[in-house]
């Protein structure tokens, strides 16, 4: 600073500079407050996510949009997620291609990537109009905040091209667009953990109370599948410029698979913490297959909170009620499904009078409590509340006592939910032999029914059976069995081994479709899509998901055991989808 005193000019300049700085501080403060104001309602990214997923604007009201020129839509109907999907990688359906809007793709100039479009070109049965459109991509520069506003309001992209009329025109405020812009920048912006340039890591989960032979059988299939995948990859990579059917461009997207076994010890309520600990040690991209004897509720929270796809664990107790936007995909809904189906079956046979004759006997653990609650609600739906008699039993002795009480009522319909160990229940039934009209039991009780079954008792028992009664009616069952035989696997446990084969073949198909886009949400979306191809090895009558669906099989047969010789199952109903 000039020590020779301030001349008036410089003094004025200093003062005005000070004023300007002061003003700058004030405007910064205003901006900061404004930001804090929005932050009070959730950060901009959170607001953008709400707009993307739920169609709610920054003012808290549903947004308005018009599709196809004159179809009004609002709120959740108009939410971006419906077509562009949670991952933002888009979809293809009904002859319409929906392009990706993830951050890295939207905010960069359009680049042609045949690998990303490969499934749309070659794996889907789409009309000619669809293929034509794919062959005429709209090249464009990167989107900016202002061109994003334009495309949402007018349907014109940064290169001045018109989007398809199905893309809605939105009425959005500046704050709405800014929020969406902030969110989209983060959408699928980074590849998820558990994958690097060389390999992708998976884990399979077993609880320590699953019998060792079952676990060994399932693992043999999983490990063999992984082994053959890696073998094929090694072959491809070891040939210089190998390119059968132009596959060389796909070899770089392939990763070696690494499968780790995570064993869960002790009670089910400790499983979630164990999974967190395992994940911290070995981050994996997804969980696949496996089996637990107990509730999946804890693991489900682990999968949802870490946003990890958990593909087809074998469990009778899925998280119930199913969480919204859950990350676990199941074969079927286990005991809750059976409870609903039994309620539906009883109501269809006896109508509104059903409730008064039904006695529900429930074991005191989760294998009893969970389906009992579902059954109670389902019966209330069908036959009105009340009328349902219920008892909880803690031991074989208490169950026998209850059975003796109801045994004198020939109109009674018993619905019994055995505890984790089904044998005491079946022993009690054999000992008392209640002469009631019907006794309903879950499928898991079937293996414990004594051979030979007392014919009179067998005639009265009904089971909810969620599986295919005639697996060899599915062509794919032969192919699957052949795959296992040629690899020297002992078919000791066909059903659960076929389950693992299905889980792996579906994972493999979905992995090919996601190309280099290793985003977990995208994997889950492709699993949903690919599950609809014919991969069912015959363990269920039908296995298919859809967007947002989490249970691949949705029904049961009500079956009885034939009492003669080696008991087998005979259907007493059609396929019930409650």
């Amino acid at each position: 600073m000039d020590a020779g005193g301030l001349r008036s000019g410089r003094g004025r300049a200093t003062i005005s500079r000070l004023l300007r700085t002061g003003l700058a501080f004030i405007s910064l403060a205003i901006v900061a407050t404004a930001f804090a104001g929005t932050a009070g309602a959730g950060s901009e990214v959170a607001q953008g996510r709400r707009l993307y997923r739920d169609g709610i604007g920054t003012d808290g009201a549903p947004v308005h949009a018009v599709s196809q020129g004159d179809v009004p839509m609002r709120g959740a109907q108009a939410a971006c997620v419906n077509c562009h999907r949670p991952s933002g990688l888009g979809s293809s359906e009904g002859g319409y291609y929906v392009p990706p809007v993830s951050g890295p793709l939207l905010f960069a100039p359009r680049k042609l990537d045949r690998r990303r479009l490969f499934p749309d070109f070659f794996h889907q049965i789409q009309p000619r109009r669809f293929k034509t459109r794919l062959h005429q991509p709209h090249m464009r520069p990167a989107y900016t905040l202002s061109t994003l506003a334009t495309v949402l309001e007018e349907g014109v992209d940064p290169a001045g091209q018109r989007l398809a009329r199905i893309m809605p025109h939105y009425r959005l405020s500046k704050a709405d667009v800014a929020a969406l812009y902030a969110y989209l920048r983060t959408l699928s912006a980074h590849v998820d953990p558990g994958v690097n340039q060389q390999e992708i890591r998976f884990a399979t989960v077993f609880s320590d109370n699953v019998p060792a032979p079952e676990r060994a059988a399932m693992l043999s299939v999983l490990r063999m599948y992984v082994h053959f995948h890696n073998l094929r990859l090694h072959e491809d990579r070891s040939r210089h410029r190998f390119s059968p059917y132009n596959r060389s461009e796909f070899v770089p997207i392939e990763r070696a698979w690494k499968l780790t076994v995570w064993e869960l010890k002790g009670p089910a309520r400790t499983w979630r913490a164990q999974l967190e600990a395992q994940y911290r040690k070995h981050p994996v991209f997804a969980l696949v297959g496996g089996k637990v004897d107990g509730s999946w509720a804890g693991p489900s929270r682990f999968c949802d909170e870490n946003r990890i796809p958990c593909l087809f664990p074998d469990t009778e107790l899925p998280a119930w009620p199913p969480p919204k936007d859950g990350y676990t995909v199941y074969f079927d809904a286990g005991l809750p499904l059976e409870a609903r189906a039994i309620a539906r079956f009883i109501a269809s046979k006896s109508g509104a009078a059903a409730g008064s004759d039904v006695v529900q006997l429930t074991a005191a653990d989760e294998y009893g409590r969970v389906p009992a609650a579902v059954f109670r609600h389902a019966m209330a739906d069908h036959a009105g509340p009340g009328g349902l008699r219920e008892f909880t039993f803690h031991s074989r002795a208490t169950l026998e006592r209850r059975l003796r009480e109801v045994a004198r009522d020939p109109k009674a319909v018993l619905v019994i939910w055995p505890g984790r160990d089904v044998r005491p229940t079946l022993a009690a039934l054999a000992a008392v032999d209640p002469r009631v009209r019907r006794i309903f039991l879950p499928a898991r009780a079937i293996p414990a029914v004594g051979k030979p079954v007392e014919p009179a008792l067998a005639r009265r028992m009904r089971f909810a059976e969620p599986y295919e009664l005639n697996p060899s009616s599915h062509v794919k069952s032969f192919e699957t069995r052949a795959w296992m035989r040629t690899r020297g696997l002992d078919l000791s446990h066909p059903r659960i081994m076929f389950e693992e084969y299905y889980a792996m073949s579906l994972l493999e198909a979905a992995l090919f479709e996601i190309s280099n886009d290793f985003y977990r949400d995208y994997l889950l979306e492709r699993v949903e899509d690919e599950s609809q191809k014919d991969l069912n090895p015959g363990i269920y009558p039908a296995l298919a998901l859809g967007p947002g669906e989490r249970f691949a099989s949705k029904g049961v047969y009500i079956v009885a055991l034939t009492g003669r010789g080696e008991p087998r199952l005979v259907a007493k109903s059609g396929w019930i989808t409650p």
Partner: protein
Amino acid sequence: MDAALAGEKPVVVQFFFTTCTTICGVRSAQILAASRELRKRGLDVGFYTISIDPHHDTPKVLLAYSRHFGVVPPPNWHLLTGTVAEVKRIQAALDASDPSADKMMHKPLTFIHAGKGLAWQRINGLTSTRSLVGMIETAVAAAR
């Protein structure tokens, strides 16, 4: 369904499934808009939307879906489900069978039937509500 088709009342048929992304939401919203417009013009048309995913789309699920589009969906919009065999039969009868088990590949078809004994009109693809209403009106007028 057979009863509806055997009657004199004009009928519009579409296929969908509730978890469908992309096109079904627009088409359902369009049915509501079209139905409002036709009612204003004094036309009583039955809209039948049939699920091609009957295992998932139980009556409960369909009811929830219809409420998604407005607190009180119109009484002439019928969302139908059934057995897989029944759905496939209707699809085959209308030459609307899906090319594969993959329901994502279903076609955006709309069928208009103006009345008993008349030919069916088949539209492949999405249109504006105005066009759809116009086509329904034309079909009904031609039937008279």
